[in-house]
Each structure stands twice: as structure tokens, then as C-alpha cells.
């Protein structure tokens, strides 16, 4: 097993990606995720990999598109405003069914917004980040350890389902330092493309040409690709939903939160329990697919839900949808880079328990 090291979340992603066989990183600087690019620029040249600082976020995601088409594990990273620019590329990746890793270390918006942590890209990422009918896999880490572990998961799920996959972290996750056990360096990058018979690696005059494409001018063919893709999404939802339950056995109030706010909420839950309030938490780990079944199951037992979020109530809507509005779903939120304190969350829990 790898040893435990102290690392920044952003750097843990970068090192984990390398240990998962990623040898191609294309990016553009933007706070608060630039450490990923900086780390890659140091490491990649030493391991025969590619670090390329692209001319824009748009170019970076399209370099990822080209590299992913050759079957390599390719990645890019950015933060909210930069992710807007990558929307076109994510749509093309999805349309061409290419797996790739995109990291979004979110900051506040809209527009240039701020540089402090946020979860305000939730809708943008989970609804399909770009034009057309599609989804990407969205994973929400809450510890530096999860930043590393989910990097591997994102590559693996992306390849299994032929989808782009995203690590959706808030700025805090990217910037905080924690002990982390990095994944074992067991993936040989050279072996990955061979598992992808669709990859454009040159015909070597041994097969018909492969075409990586998202254009279908015949409507019946385009319709078919949409249905095929959504069948994959259904399988993804059936088999890959991940979430964490905390003190839910006897809970009457269910907190729902991800990332940094889930950590704050945990402290508030501990304090509330001391006051005798039966409160627990469901922390979605996959945001697409959203763990609807876990929430629906909880809805049968609890009096109500409380989402704790760094936005104006985005995941709140998903919880309402998941439980078909069977119970009240209230919210404790801060935005713009502000983070609710444990006391603020505790106050909201007390209100819910009444």
C-alpha cells in the first residue's frame, strides 16, 4: 500500500491521475485549481507525459477530445468560468462517446464572480453541460482522499460507460491539505488504448478506418444514438449510484449535502445529536447519477429534509424530485464564497426538528 502523505486536494488529483495511467494533461490557468496544472507541468516531463498549457479552455478541452480519441486517458481541469468555455467540448465528447476526465474546482459566479468556494455549477454540470441531450458522470469529493480515489473512479466509469466524467469539487476541496493515501501506481498507460477498438490510432492497413464523430444528418440515426446513450445512463443509474449515510438509522431529519458543506453539516449533526435531535445525513457522492433511491427510501422515514449548499438551492430541487415532494425539503445555504458555519447549520437543524 502507498504511504500516507500530506497533500493539497488539487495536487492529490494530479498525482492520482498520473498513477491511474494518465499521461496527457491539457489546461489553462484559473484560480482556484491552478495547482493541478502546476503539478502536472513538473511531473509530466519526467515520466514521458504531456503537459500542455493551451491557448484557452476551449483549446484545452479540444486537445483532450483529440487525445481521448486515440484511446489515451486524457484530462483537463478548470474552475467555473473556464468550465463555461469547455461546454462546447463536453457536448462533443458526449456526442462522440469519448471518455475523458474534466475537473471543475468551483468558484462563485455568475460572470467572473469571485475566487472563493462555491457549489453553484451544480445545475450546469448535472443537467448536461452543453448543447444537446446528454449527461456526464459527476462525482463530488468531500475529502482530499476522495479527490484522489474519485480520480481513478472517474477514469474507470468514463471508460466503462464511454462518457466524459467530472470531478466536481468546491474551491475548499482544491485548496485544503489533508493526509491522503494515493492510489497504487499499477496502471500501465500503454495498455489502455488496446481496450478501445473504436480509437483512432491509425489503421496500420489492418482494419477499416475508425471515425470519431458526433454528426448524424439522418434524423432517425441521430434519434437512435440519443436513445442508445440514455439506455447507458439508465444502466449507470442502476449500477453506479454512490452516497454516504451518516446516522440515518433513527433520523427524523435528513441533511443532504456534498463537499465542504457536508463536512460542516457533520459537525452540526454531532452537536444536534447532543441536544437529542434525531438528525442524520445523506451525502450524495455521484451527482449524476443522483442517488434518488436512497433519498426516496429515507423519505419514508424522516419528517423532512434540509439541504446545505453553496448555491441558491440547486441540489434542493433534485432532492424534491427524488422524493416526489413527499416531505418538506428546506435549505440552509450561503453563496458568493461564503460558507455556513456549523452553528448556522445547527440552527437550521433545530428549526427542522421542531
Amino acid at each position: 500500500m502507498s504511504e500516507k502523505v500530506l497533500m493539497k486536494g488539487n495536487e492529490a488529483i494530479a498525482e492520482a491521475a498520473i498513477r491511474c495511467g494518465c499521461r496527457h494533461y491539457f489546461g489553462y490557468p484559473i484560480t482556484p485549481q491552478t495547482e493541478i496544472a502546476a503539478y502536472m507541468s513538473k511531473r509530466m516531463p519526467k515520466i514521458d507525459g504531456t503537459f500542455l498549457q493551451a491557448e484557452s479552455e476551449i483549446a484545452a478541452i479540444n486537445m483532450v477530445y483529440g487525445c481521448a480519441a486515440t484511446g489515451r486517458r486524457a484530462m483537463t481541469s478548470s474552475s467555473s468560468p473556464g468550465i463555461s468555455l469547455k461546454a462546447e467540448g463536453m457536448s462533443y465528447l458526449a456526442g462522440a462517446d469519448l471518455p475523458a476526465l474534466i475537473v471543475n474546482v468551483q468558484r462563485g459566479g455568475p460572470g467572473l464572480g469571485g475566487i472563493q468556494p462555491s457549489q453553484s455549477d451544480y445545475f450546469f454540470m448535472t443537467r448536461g453541460p452543453g448543447h444537446g441531450d446528454f449527461h456526464i458522470i459527476v462525482l463530488a469529493p468531500a475529502t482530499v482522499q476522495e479527490m484522489a480515489d474519485m480520480t481513478r473512479l472517474a477514469f474507470e466509469l468514463g471508460e466503462k460507460y464511454r462518457m466524459p466524467a467530472m470531478l466536481l469539487a468546491d474551491g475548499t476541496m482544491g485548496q485544503m491539505m489533508e493526509p491522503v493515501v494515493l492510489p497504487e501506481d499499477t496502471v500501465d498507460p500503454a495498455t489502455i488504448p488496446a481496450t478501445k477498438p473504436w480509437a483512432t490510432t491509425g489503421t496500420e492497413m489492418k482494419r477499416a478506418h475508425n471515425i470519431v464523430n458526433s454528426l448524424y444528418l439522418k434524423p432517425d440515426e441521430l434519434e437512435k444514438t440519443n436513445y442508445e446513450r440514455f439506455a447507458r445512463y439508465a444502466k449507470l443509474e442502476a449500477e453506479e449510484c454512490r452516497w454516504e449515510e451518516y446516522l440515518m438509522d433513527d433520523a427524523e431529519v435528513c441533511v443532504v449535502s456534498v463537499g465542504i458543506t457536508a463536512r460542516v453539516a457533520k459537525n452540526a449533526i454531532v452537536a444536534a445529536r447532543k441536544e437529542g435531535i434525531k438528525v442524520g445525513m445523506i451525502r450524495p457522492i455521484t451527482l449524476f447519477p443522483f442517488p434518488k433511491a436512497a433519498l426516496a427510501k429515507a423519505a419514508a422515514k424522516v419528517k423532512g429534509f434540509l439541504t446545505v449548499e453553496l448555491n441558491m438551492g440547486q441540489m434542493n430541487e433534485d432532492v424534491k424530485l427524488a422524493i416526489n415532494c413527499a416531505k418538506p425539503v428546506n435549505m440552509c445555504n450561503r453563496v458568493g464564497g461564503m460558507i455556513p458555519s456549523a452553528d448556522e447549520v445547527l440552527a437550521a437543524i433545530r428549526k427542522e426538528a421542531k
Partner: protein, 248 residues
């Protein structure tokens, strides 16, 4: 008797969707002839653009990738960094390369990326039905410059080879035309060289091909070739703008 001219081997049998007399077909053939002559079909990856040649991926037998509008050089960069020993080319029109994708074009050239770019300049957006392109001539009537391109409000046409020639990194920049037999012969040489450069690791090569769009120019194929001679070439002079290995 021996065959002295036939369809190149690296083209598929899919009939082109291009309009009668459109010179895209000639340039496709010249690209395929270069691929055949260098024996690189099995290790070539082509990038198709958005525009009239969007379906170029159906016409070449090598592996092909369809890029989003203007991003072909970035996609080519991603492929080339993954497969440095392979041959990567993009095939792009003027709207794709000189307008929406200008940033990718300049930056890829600036990096001296070892790829080959075939740039079709026919001074118009063909696929969408004949709108003004960045390369449309002064006074040229198009769907979106119905009174003729007015430099005061619509700016001046862009000369890509001259622009890129100001950069230090590109290995080879040449402008050719395909409106006559003599020009096609010269274009063939330039396109071959642009691929050979890549095989030899010389770096970024771009060939700008002055082409026709008879349909959207509202001219017969023959008159369109004359338009190239009389109107296009005087504004877009043919020739080599950069050839590093020969000190140019």
C-alpha cells in the same frame, strides 16, 4: 498501356457530396495522393472541420476525427501529443480556420506543432449558404454582405499565410490555387511537401489553397476558375511564405 492517372488508393469509394465543379474534390485528391506517395495511410489521422468539408471523414481511408467548428488544430494537437510518430492533418475552410478558429490556428502554428494543415480559402461560407467569410474580397456580394463587403463596417479580408509568416515557429507556409492545370500541379507539390515535412519532423506546415465555390459565387465552374485568376489571386498572391529548411 499503363495507368498514368487514377483515383488515389487512400480515398474511399464514397461519392463526394460537393456541388458540381467545387474544387474541394481536387484538394481531397491531392491530399490522398500525398498520403499514397509517402505510404502513410495506415498511420495517418485526419481531422475534419465544420463547414462544407465536414464529411471529409467519409472520404479518406485513414482514421478520421470530426472536430467542432474551428477547433481542428487543437484536436490535432491532442492526437499528435498522444501519437507523435503518426501523421496528423486537418482539413479546414476559411470560416473554420480564419474566423472562429483563428486563435487555435495561430497558437498551433506558434507552438510549431508538427502537424499538417490544409486550408481551403474560397472566400465564403459554403455549407450555410453563402455568407461573408473573413476572406471574402472587398466588394464581394454574399448573403450577409448583400451590398458588397464594405471595409468600413465589415473590415478587410485576412491573409492567413502572411499573418502566420510573422511567427518564428512554422516550418512551411505556402499559398496555391486549384483553378487551372498548372496551379493544380503546383498545389500537389506543396501539399506533398507539407506532409513530408511532418514525416521528417520539421514542424508546422500549412498550405492555403485558393478554391472555388461556384454555387454560392453564382458562377459556372469555369467562370469560378476565372474569378480565382482575376480577383482572388491578385489579393491573395500565390507562393511560398515560409520554408525554414531553405532559409525562407
Amino acid at each position: 498501356m499503363a495507368i498514368v492517372f487514377q483515383k488515389p488508393k487512400s480515398l474511399t469509394d464514397v461519392p463526394y457530396h460537393y456541388c458540381p465543379g467545387c474544387t474541394h474534390g481536387i484538394v481531397h485528391r491531392l491530399v490522398a495522393e500525398a498520403i499514397d506517395a509517402l505510404g502513410i495511410e495506415g498511420k495517418t489521422i485526419g481531422i475534419a472541420p465544420v463547414g462544407c468539408s465536414v464529411m471529409a471523414y467519409d472520404y479518406f481511408k485513414c482514421d478520421m476525427i470530426e472536430a467542432s467548428h474551428g477547433r481542428a488544430p487543437a484536436v490535432a494537437t491532442g492526437v499528435k501529443r498522444a501519437l507523435p510518430d503518426h501523421v496528423v492533418f486537418t482539413y479546414q475552410g476559411d470560416g473554420d480556420l480564419a474566423s472562429i478558429g483563428l486563435c487555435e490556428t495561430v497558437s498551433t502554428a506558434c507552438r510549431g506543432e508538427n502537424v499538417t494543415i490544409i486550408f481551403i480559402n474560397n472566400a465564403i461560407y459554403g455549407m450555410t449558404g453563402g455568407q461573408m467569410a473573413p476572406t471574402s474580397l472587398i466588394g464581394q456580394v454574399t448573403q450577409t454582405s448583400p451590398y458588397g463587403r464594405d471595409p468600413k463596417t465589415q473590415g478587410m479580408p485576412i491573409r492567413i499565410c502572411e499573418l502566420l509568416a510573422t511567427l518564428d515557429a512554422p516550418a512551411y507556409l505556402e499559398r496555391v490555387a486549384v483553378n487551372s492545370v498548372a496551379h493544380v500541379r503546383q498545389a500537389k507539390k506543396a501539399i506533398h511537401k507539407a506532409f513530408q515535412n511532418q514525416v521528417e519532423g520539421k514542424g508546422f506546415s500549412l498550405v492555403e489553397v485558393i478554391s472555388t465555390c461556384p454555387t454560392n459565387w453564382g458562377l459556372t465552374p469555369e467562370k469560378a476558375c476565372q474569378f480565382v485568376e482575376e480577383k482572388m489571386i491578385p489579393f491573395y498572391p500565390l507562393g511560398c511564405f515560409k520554408d525554414k529548411e531553405n532559409g525562407k
